[in-house]
Amino acid sequence: MSKFKNKKQGDLPAISTASLPDIVFMLLFFFMVATVMRDSSLMIENILPSADQVEKLKKDRTTFIYAGKPSSQYKQFGEEPRIQINDQFVGIEDIMPAVLQAQSELNEELQSKIVVGLKVDKETHAGLISDIKQELRKANTLKVMYITNARAEQ
């Protein structure tokens, strides 16, 4: 009657692997949901400051500007805080064209609502920020969001 006549008696049957795909899909879905894609690799140190009066960022209408000291593998760019947009260091005069280009790539109805997210290292000096803000005013993209870590209200 048994199919495994040549086996020793009392052996346990093989564990069914029918559910393995389910488990794998479950893990896949979990990671798909929980992962945030990072679209540019940071060349700077980027430890954000924290604040408690925070609002959520609307991803669909945001372009990011990073600033901070070049990180250890980019020491050749010096010690002074630098500005990074997309994947490269840029000078202060390149901000306006970069932001205007990002604006033109948005959906038409969102173009006037563009928000510039500033991800700036907390060790940076604020003079650099006011230079950036001055350029943004020239580009007429007036909504900025200082991206911070949220901390609980005291």
Partner: protein, 204 residues
């Protein structure tokens, strides 16, 4: 005949267990989202018109020096006291606004030497180029907090709900306009308009 082998484990319900776990994780995971302080920059003004004269008492000056120390209304102040000082200033209501109305919702001390009306009260902030970004954000945070606390108070008083929940509801229903809610939000924003100006740091 030999002893019968143990029957195979039924795997039919395995999928159910997997889905149960999947749903559990889906519900309990929060997706990390960027958050921050949203501010609007002033547009560049090329016109030659003279800026209106603002009375000193309607101006609340916050200076941050290169050593991250605060100078508020010509006195040194710790960061933790800034929020309350800003609230006291905004909520003072010592006089009348441009339309000659008294501030009937202010609960401040009505000190004639401080701000006249929340409409007129302006917070002016200036920092040094060498100020650290961290301190700059801390100060921004405290000043925005002062406005939020006052708006929250008025929302509780007028509509018996939190201002935050009103904004959240507006956000949730962004595709179907709720005029009543929008009007309530506007009313509260008008009671304490955010007049927070930033001077450019001196070039040296």
């Amino acid at each position: 005949m030999a002893k019968r082998a143990a029957p195979e484990v039924n795997a039919g319900s395995m999928a159910d267990i997997a889905f149960l776990l999947l749903i559990f994780f889906l519900v309990t995971t929060t997706i990390e989202k960027d958050k921050g302080i949203l501010r609007s920059l002033p547009p560049i003004d090329d016109s030659e018109t003279e800026p209106p004269i603002i009375k000193q008492k309607n101006l609340f000056t916050v200076l941050i020096n290169r050593n991250n120390q605060l100078l508020v209304e010509d006195e040194q102040m710790e960061l933790k006291d800034l929020r309350q000082a800003a609230i006291d200033f905004l909520d003072n209501g010592g006089g009348e606004n441009a339309d000659g109305e008294k501030c009937d919702y202010c609960r401040g001390e009505r000190d004639p030497s401080s701000s006249d009306h929340p409409d007129k009260a302006i917070i002016s902030m200036k920092h040094d180029r060498e100020t650290s970004y961290e301190q700059y954000i801390e100060v921004q945070n405290e000043l925005v907090a002062a406005y939020n606390i006052l708006r929250e108070r008025e929302a509780q008083r007028l509509y018996n709900r939190s201002f935050e929940s009103m904004l959240a509801e507006k956000e949730k229903n962004q595709f179907k306009k709720d005029d009543k809610l929008n009007e309530q939000i506007e009313t509260i924003k008008k009671m304490f308009p955010m007049k927070l100006s930033e001077a450019e740091p001196d070039k040296n």
